[in-house]
């Protein structure tokens, strides 16, 4: 195991440089993951509030109830009560809706008569329709109570209406997809950032070992000894594999500490599996680069292009949902795209049935194909180089 021990010594000798890579990348990944988790990208529905000017010519508990209900979906804006000021406010979209409660409105409602409100809105405004619906619903419910409970007091009416309007139905989603993407945990973001860290560290580490071990004179000198090429290559591969698994473990374990609640869920084990397959693709890429590129400065430059580039176009820094189809098509020629795609699918999945996981397995197989292709080209290149020398 002389060659393996030597490789380990080379790795130990260069561990500081690799550790700097790991720590810097880990720091950045954690920072960005934290920020992203705190300000999630969401595609889920949330209510927006309309700017409303509210005028009333009477002050009754019912009017107060209407105003309170409207406040849930409106911001009340104070405007001077004259025609010109109101028209200007609508024109400049200072408000999108003006409601005026006329004198005697409450009495008409309480007597079961038809009562109307004065409403002015910007034409074809979504907010106008929305506020209309809210007011109509409130007044219809009020009429229903007045007609059904004769002699009901205004206070009781307002209280019952408040309870009814505040109720919401409990809905259980049976779909495998999470209802809200904003629930994406820190772990999911963290694993996406591995797409940057893992190949960068591995390309550096593998290149250092390969360049030192495969330097022509040292290699020739080694093969003058009674060591078989098979044993030499096996020890070299074993040491590089050891480095890869160690890096993988070092990069994954912090996630268990930083987000223990999500890390030990079922979905995380699929993320871990996906990251392991991505590790193989990164190993292949590192091997390929170390075979074809000479000199550590050239390796560093290429490593940056090969790791940062796909991260930008494959959805690590910018979610895939925001990227154009052409960009994603180009990105699909990198393993990073499939790695992120699998991560995103797993992060938005609650049930792990065969139907849900089969496309995930398909994508993981594509990552494996990338790994195989990298290794095949690397081995062919290595053989060609050996024959040339």
């Amino acid at each position: 195991m002389q060659v393996f021990k030597l490789c380990m010594k080379i790795i130990r000798k260069n561990k500081a440089a690799m550790l700097v890579y790991v720590l810097v990348f880990l720091g950045i990944a954690i920072l960005i993951s934290r920020i992203t988790a705190q300000h999630p990208v969401t595609s889920a529905f949330s209510t927006a509030k309309a700017n409303v000017a509210f005028f009333t010519e009477e002050n009754t508990p019912l009017v107060t109830g209407i105003k309170q209900e409207l406040s849930k979906s409106s911001n009340f804006v104070k405007i001077e009560d004259n025609t010109e000021a109101l028209q200007d406010a609508l024109y400049f979209r200072q408000v999108t809706y003006i409601v005026r409660i006329p004198k005697g409105f409450t009495d008409k409602i309480m007597n079961g008569e038809k009562a109307t409100l004065e409403r002015t809105t910007v034409p074809d405004s979504v907010y106008g329709t929305y506020i209309d619906m809210k007011i109509n619903r409130y007044l219809n419910m009020a009429s229903l109570y007045v007609n059904s409970v004769p002699g009901i007091s205004q206070e009781k009416l307002v209280s019952d209406l408040k309870d009814d309007m505040g109720k919401s139905a409990l809905v259980t989603m049976t779909s495998a997809k999470k209802a809200n993407d904003s629930e994406k945990p820190f772990t999911a973001y963290y694993f996406n950032f591995l797409a940057y860290v893992l190949p960068a560290v591995l390309i550096f580490g593998i290149s250092i070992v390969m360049q030192i071990m495969n330097e022509k004179d040292r290699r020739s000198r080694t093969f003058c000894s009674p060591i078989s090429p098979k044993s030499y290559n096996a020890q070299l591969i074993f040491s590089i594999g050891f480095l890869a698994v160690a890096c993988w473990a070092v990069l994954i374990l912090p996630c268990a500490v930083l987000d223990p609640s999500h890390f030990f869920q079922q979905s995380t084990w699929y993320l871990v599996l996906n990251s392991f397959v991505f590790l193989l693709a990164s190993l292949g890429l590192g091997f390929l680069i170390s075979i074809f590129v000479q000199g550590m400065s050239a390796v560093s430059a290429l490593a940056n292009i090969c790791t940062l580039g796909p991260c930008f176009i494959a959805g690590v820094f910018v979610p895939q949902a925001f990227l154009g189809s052409t960009v994603l098509k180009v990105a699909s020629f990198t393993p990073t795209y499939w790695f992120v795609k699998v991560n995103d699918t797993l992060a938005s999945t609650t049930h792990f049935s065969y139907d849900v996981l089969s496309p995930v397995y398909g994508d993981i197989l594509i990552e494996l194909a990338f790994a195989a292709a990298f290794f095949a080209v690397g081995l062919a290149g290595s053989k060609r180089k050996r024959l040339e020398t």
Binding site: K5, L6, K9, D217, R218, R221, C224, S225
Partner: protein, 310 residues
């Protein structure tokens, strides 16, 4: 027979690097392999070590066919490459231990061998040094230690003294002679003729992939037509007198550059006495005068038409 090469041919495309080379190396000898750049020395060594495939011929080492997987043979060969092949990440001791470990798996035995190798090349006080901290001479010594630590029966040294200071060179040459006295057979290539003259018991001269001379130093010197060479320091010699000198019996050539007169005698002829008589008779003032027998460099020059270091 330690090495037996029979009819070896190696081509690089159209270039014939080794042209039907046949050579034998006997046990216990120090064989010097000489030749100008591109003569095929390193190619021959790489073929012997099975680092290169060859087109034709046969190589046997320790009376067995040499092949890339002839590990039992390789176990008994020590190699010191032309370029220093050590690891900058390992100390002097670790480097020797690594290369020795490729041959000697037993840890205790290896430890002893490594210490012996360190003592042998005189790197005791540098054992914890990394190669980058060593001078060129010390690096060469480390390279040698890495090649001989496992006590090989055959040692192949490919120009081990290139870019080494005279003191280190002497240490290296003495070390090689010591290894030979201890029983190792040595194949030694060099650009430095005086080194080969100093340590080699037999010399083979290669040119354009062929052996053009093979024998001990005296045998090689007898191969050429030159005898002694007389050098006279003088600043007054006319063209007429130079012509007269050239016509003296036994003189092969006479050249004068305005400061020095060099007379080369024909093989087996002694012209020193006649030259001195001529100088006295013609009343030519001279400073130093000395006579030398032909060197291997003269042999090389006459056989290949080129200086060894060209």
């Amino acid at each position: 027979m330690v090495i037996s090469i029979n009819n070896l041919v190696k081509r690089y495309g159209d270039l014939v690097a080794l042209d039907h080379l046949s050579l034998e190396v006997q046990e216990g000898e120090i064989l010097g392999l000489l030749g100008p750049n591109g003569s095929g020395k390193t190619t021959a060594i790489n073929c012997i070590l099975s680092l290169l495939k060859y087109d034709k011929g046969e190589i046997r080492v320790f009376d067995r066919p040499m092949a890339p997987d002839a590990y039992d043979i390789k176990r008994n060969i020590g190699v010191v490459m032309q370029n220093v092949a050590v690891f900058n990440e390992l100390t002097v001791q670790e480097n020797i231990n690594y290369f020795c470990g490729l041959y000697v798996p037993e840890k205790e035995k290896r430890k002893q061998y490594v210490e012996e190798a360190i003592d042998f090349v005189g790197l005791g006080e540098f054992r914890k040094f990394y190669p980058k901290k060593l001078s060129g001479g010390l690096l060469r010594r480390l390279n040698i230690a890495c090649g001989i630590a496992h006590h090989p029966k055959l040692i192949i040294l490919d120009e081990p003294t290139v870019a080494v200071d005279p003191q280190s060179r002497n240490n290296i040459l003495e070390g090689i002679e010591r290894l030979n006295r201890e029983g190792a057979t040595v194949v030694y290539t060099s650009h430095y003729m005086e080194e080969v003259e100093q340590i080699c018991s037999r010399v083979v001269i290669l040119d354009k992939g062929r052996i053009i001379a093979n024998g001990n130093k005296e045998e090689l010197k007898n191969m050429i037509s030159l005898g002694e060479r007389i050098t006279v320091e003088t600043s007054v010699l006319s063209t007429g007198l130079l012509s007269a000198l050239k016509n003296m019996p036994g003189v092969e050539t006479a050249e004068y550059d305005g400061k020095q007169l060099v007379i080369k005698s024909a093989k087996g002829k002694n012209t020193l006495e006649n030259t001195l008589d001529f100088l006295k008779k013609e009343n030519i003032a001279y400073g130093r005068i000395y006579s030398e027998m032909p060197t291997l460099n003269d042999v090389f020059l006459q056989l290949t038409g080129t200086e060894l270091r060209d």
